[in-house]
């Protein structure tokens, strides 16, 4: 327990933490992760990453990055690092668990 938790890897299968849900707040016109006494507003990219890489139906993060690469016509090598960084940040903030 004395070491820093590792970054999320492509082989991980992250899912939303207990009490966390993806919501579209129509009044504010925003997608957000709603969690215990907190929320995180998602921009378009963050929403795409959550949809592609987080959830019970995801094979693993690698598959999600493949999908994003196709959807956004972006070289995989250019987006993989950013996606893993974003997922690690979501985990450290308690929205995602592995």
């Amino acid at each position: 327990m004395s070491t820093v938790a590792p970054h999320i890897a492509e082989s991980d299968r992250p899912r939303l933490a207990p009490g966390v849900m993806l919501r579209n707040d129509r009044r504010r016109g925003q997608w957000m992760l709603m969690g215990p006494e907190r929320l995180l507003v998602l921009d378009e990219m963050a929403l795409a990453v959550v949809r592609a890489c987080v959830g019970p139906d995801i094979a693993d993060v690698a598959a999600g990055i493949d999908r994003l690469s196709v959807e956004y016509d972006a070289p995989r090598t250019e987006i993989a690092g950013d996606v893993l960084e974003m997922l690690t940040d979501l985990r450290n903030k308690g929205y995602v668990v592995t």
Binding site: S2, A5, G19, P36, N92
Partner: protein
């Protein structure tokens, strides 16, 4: 000609952004008697509490004003037999439900009923890492063991668990043990909650204030562990007010993120706001939450930056800390209109240090338990 005019115009013409959450203090009743309770010294009796139908209407109004979450709090909200019914109603109208509880009245069947009603998150307070100290300061024998049992049931059921660990002179040395305990229980989050001196805690300050040495040791212990805790448990930690150099952004700014409804229906910008003399509070019987949020006199009084005196008025941090806490400015600087004297830029900052050192040196152990 008044330079206050543009700010006034802006405040009246602009609709405030909706609140994030409404805190509903369903009751002031509680089986625990913690001497640092944030409830007011004058507690609302059970006979004055809003009934189920009124709370449901208030929930509807919370959704109407644009709140996303409701915090069922107290007192101990589980003394209300209608808690399940209120959670179910909140779920039905799209509100996210948090339960802020001592847990001593909960058991597995009731947790299951609350989960079926749509409850998402349970926040359980711990009074210490070990039963002796916890039960003594909570004034409730067997409370600590019961809390641990319920906390495990919360996690086993797949609900989110937050541990609210209350620290003061008598348990601050066990901060590491409390963190370990929260992780062992499977909590997703821990609030390292150094006592804030409002309500009963203010009255008992001399029996609770930690010393500077205790504070520094606790602060170093927590900071040393934060890197290893990242990704394992979310830690909410701020330096306690009386030892801080800058004030907290109390409630995320006055009337910016939260509304609070008391057991008998007064609508407040924060749970301690009633200590401020001269503020006119409306009740849920007077107007809707939307109306009160928009232009209720207690809400507009300190919203934004127009009310600010110096040094806040010209400060780069005015939209970070929003001038700190109004109730604390009243308690420590004698006026709710003043800069929170926790701020080192306040002329009253030295007085806070003097009060703190006096109370810490008092080494008092005799506290007054909360009543009702």
């Amino acid at each position: 000609m008044s330079c206050a005019l543009p700010a006034f115009a802006a405040a009246t013409q602009t609709e405030p952004a909706p609140p994030f959450a409404v805190l509903m203090e369903l009751t002031h009743r509680c089986p625990l008697r913690c001497p640092y309770c944030s409830n007011p010294l004058a507690l609302d009796p059970a006979s004055a509490e809003l009934d189920t139908a009124t709370w449901k209407r208030v929930l509807d109004e919370a959704a109407d004003v644009g709140a996303l979450q409701v915090h069922f709090s107290g007192g101990e909200p589980c003394v209300r037999k209608d808690l399940e019914e209120l959670v179910a109603h909140a779920t039905e109208i799209g509100l996210y439900s948090n339960l802020i509880t001592s847990a001593v009245l909960l058991d597995r069947p009731r947790l299951e009923r609350l989960q079926r009603a749509g409850l998402q998150h349970v926040q359980i307070s711990l009074q210490d890492a070990e039963a002796g100290g916890a039960d003594r300061i909570g004034g409730f024998k067997g409370g600590h063991a019961k809390k641990l049992e319920v906390a495990r049931a919360v996690v086993a059921q797949g609900l989110a668990l937050t541990i609210n660990a209350v620290l003061h002179r008598h348990n601050i040395e066990r901060v590491n043990d409390v963190i370990d305990l929260a992780m062992d229980l499977g909590a997703g989050r821990i609030e390292i909650a150094n006592v804030q001196y409002y309500g009963w805690a203010l009255a008992n300050r001399a029996a609770l204030m930690p010393s500077r040495d205790q504070l520094l040791a606790m602060d170093a212990a927590v900071r040393a562990r934060l890197p290893e805790l990242a990704g394992r448990i979310v830690v909410d930690y701020v330096v306690p007010d009386y030892y801080a150099r800058r004030p907290k952004s109390c409630m995320g700014g006055w009337a910016r993120r939260f509304m609070n409804v008391t057991p008998h229906g007064r609508v407040l910008p924060c749970h301690a706001a009633e200590t401020i003399p001269g503020l006119a509070f409306e009740t849920v019987h007077d107007r809707s939450l939307s109306d009160i949020w928009r232009d209720g006199p207690a809400f507009t009084r300190y919203r934004g930056t127009g009310w600010m005196p110096d040094p806040c008025r010209s400060c780069d941090h005015q939209e970070e800390d929003w001038g700190g806490c109004r109730c604390q400015a009243l308690a420590l600087a004698g006026s709710a209109d003043a800069t929170d004297p926790v701020c080192e830029l306040s002329s009253a900052h030295a007085d806070v240090a003097a009060l703190r050192d006096r109370d810490a040196a008092a080494l008092g152990t005799e506290w007054t338990y909360r009543g009702l």
